[in-house]
């Protein structure tokens, strides 16, 4: 581990990579501030930029954009009551009331310190957990990988939330369907190309990510009339003091500690992500609070801002663990990063630690650096970054769309890809409005190819018999876990309410 850390520190602290961290944090904070564009969109928009960089630099940039966007999302949550991303929705519960009562600066500062703490604690935990998990998974064979891919797909669907499990499973299936377009890797035969040369290589990952998470998101904000809105300019008087007193720090410190650990543990579960972590952390702190402190929740409680902010940054860091060690993305954003790594020709998974230790450790070390950058650079810049929010939407929206199109064009220099992107964006908008989540589709697309390859290999090794699913202990364990996760939504609906009857009702905004 020490050797790895030294490699990571050497790689991450080169002037070039430090510049990438700063750039990523800055760009991510700005993009994350824009309502409608969250970390997923921010990272998707960065992919074309990273294609010209070294893999470690590209990943460091994307990681910086990721947690910069999570931090930026909290800024618009607090100042405008318009969450920049799903994981900062909870921050509005107490952050906006604080802003309304003239304590916006304090709320922003607290969000920054809590995010820093959560991210740093999680980076430290990742330093220990990731290599351990990578060593365990080095013994995996094709059958185990197949079971792991199915587990990854199942968990992101099962943890999608109430009313979303069936749509999420269907979207995962759609993603796997899209991955079958092109040339079959084993036989070399064309599938679903309809005679078109443009489809022989299948859909590019960047095209899908841009279409579903950047272009579709921007068009949905236009549909909601964002181009008609005029936000009031944010100036220093409105922000107020950004200082925290010693008593306030003592009040929030335990909440930050608890939420950081909770967020990290939730983040490493594939599919859970920062949004669930922020909700659970808020609910936990609300349940733990007593007396006056409990009544403050929903009205401008410091813990109500600190807990979700610490948890969402910790979860964002934690979601890197399964991505780097198992090749299974922990969230939609890391799914995009996984696709970008594959485009570099690097296969995330247990071999990453052995074959590319510089990439593995430099990402972990860059998280420490990134958290410091967020605190040191972004906090003083908030009043100025906030002014950027007042760029008119009629200017900003076409620029973002142009960025999407240019990004896709620069990959293949084929304008047909822009047409395909437009079609996929239209389909994605329709599916979003019908309540279908996009992240499972992206995950299905990325994992679909590996799923098929590993299944085929496992069947060949096993002479065509499916007994590998229960003969290998690891495969059996993963299959059982898959079954349990699939059964979890039904269990949580029927059994848990009976167990929890009589306890305090969860998250209700007062």
């Amino acid at each position: 581990m020490i050797d790895g850390l030294i490699i990571g520190i050497t790689t991450a602290t080169t002037p070039y990579n430090l510049m990438m961290v700063c750039l990523g944090c800055f760009a991510g904070t700005f993009i994350g501030m824009l309502p409608g564009l969250g970390p997923v969109s921010a990272v998707a928009l960065m992919i074309p930029v990273t294609y010209g960089l070294e893999p470690s630099s590209g990943l460091i940039l994307m990681a910086g954009v990721y947690y910069g966007a999570v931090f930026g999302g909290s800024t618009s949550s607090i100042l405008l009551n318009a969450p920049g991303c799903a994981s900062t929705v909870v921050t509005t519960f107490d952050g906006f009331p604080m802003a309304r009562s003239g304590r916006a600066g304090k709320a922003l500062a607290l969000a920054a310190y809590a995010s820093f703490s959560g991210g740093t604690i999680a980076a430290f935990a990742m330093m220990i957990a990731a290599p351990a998990l990578a060593r365990v998974s080095l013994g995996f064979q094709s059958a185990d990988y197949f079971a792991l891919m199915v587990l990854g797909l199942t968990s992101i669907t099962a943890l999608s939330g109430r009313g979303k499990v069936l749509p999420a499973i269907m979207m995962a299936i759609l993603g796997v369907m899209l991955s079958t377009v092109g040339t079959d890797a084993t036989s070399g035969l064309p599938r679903f190309t309809f005679g078109r040369m443009d489809l022989v290589d299948g859909f590019s990952f960047l095209l899908l990510a841009m279409a579903t998470f950047a272009l579709a998101e921007v068009l949905l904000t236009v549909r909601e009339g964002v181009h008609r809105q005029k936000d009031a300019p944010i100036d220093r008087e409105r922000l107020g003091s950004m200082r925290l007193s010693a008593d306030e720090i003592k009040n929030v410190a335990p909440a930050i500690g608890r939420s950081s650990v909770l967020g990290f543990l939730i983040g490493i579960l594939p599919g859970a992500g920062a949004t669930i972590a922020s909700f659970i952390a808020y609910g936990t702190e609300r349940n733990l609070a007593r007396g006056e402190a409990a009544d403050e929740f929903g009205r401008g409680s410091l813990r109500g801002v600190a807990a979700p902010e610490a948890a969402n940054n910790a979860a964002s860091t934690g979601s890197f663990v399964p991505m780097l060690t198992l090749g299974i993305p922990g969230s939609g954003t890391t799914a995009i990063m996984l696709g970008a790594l594959i485009a570099y020709g690097i296969q995330p998974g247990p071999r990453l630690l052995v074959d590319n230790p510089d990439i593995f450790w430099s990402v972990i070390v860059s998280m420490y650096v990134g958290n410091v950058v967020l605190l040191v650079m972004n906090l003083p810049l908030i009043p100025y970054l906030s002014k950027l929010l007042s760029v008119p939407r009629p200017i900003l929206v076409p620029v973002i769309i142009a960025f999407c199109m240019i990004g896709v064009y620069l990959v293949s220099f084929n304008s047909v890809d822009i047409l395909i992107m437009a079609v996929i964006a239209v389909v994605a908008i329709a599916l979003r409005l019908l309540g279908f989540p996009m992240a499972p589709m992206l995950l299905g697309f990325i994992l679909g190819g590996y799923l098929e390859d590993n299944l085929q290999r496992a069947l060949i090794i096993n002479d065509g018999a499916w007994s590998f699913l229960w003969e290998r202990p690891t495969t059996l364990a993963l299959s059982v876990l898959t079954g349990l996760i699939l059964a979890w939504p039904a269990v949580s609906r029927s059994v848990l309410p009976r167990i929890g009857a009589g306890t305090r009702a969860p998250l209700e905004r007062e």
Binding site: K164, P167, M170, I173, L174, P190, P392, A402, I406, L419
Partner: protein, 159 residues
Amino acid sequence: MNRGRIGGCLFFLLSLGYGVAATDIPTLPIDEFEAMNARSLPFVLSGAGMILSLIMLVFPAADSEDGGAKDEVGLLDGYWMVVAALIATVIAYALVLERLGFLLSTALFLAAGFLILGERRWPVVLGLPFALVGTLWLILVPGLDIYLAPGSLLARLFG
């Protein structure tokens, strides 16, 4: 009409179409003896998609807290004409890009986008696109050494 039912219907048709298209996938002679071939996964996906779609059609909000009461569709709400105009502009951009070249087509796209979204200051509509695209061109071509073709129509006109 419930959102779940519309989604289920669409997915059923998609899965059915996918399954039908999968029958066109060619196979190798040796595939007869293999447990899995190029058609296997597509058939499984098609079957799974159809079954899940039917479940969604029959129980449109089976796992929803309120039984789907809040799922009534308001799909027609919003600035759809503006969205459609932007999408049409994207398609037009894709069609003219290789004829007019990167500079001109991107600048025209931005100008059209500004107008569609309500920007009416003519210096902004006419000047800003060229300024932005010019800056981007300088970064991409001389800066990053990426070749961007000037456009077939312009090449023919100006040699």
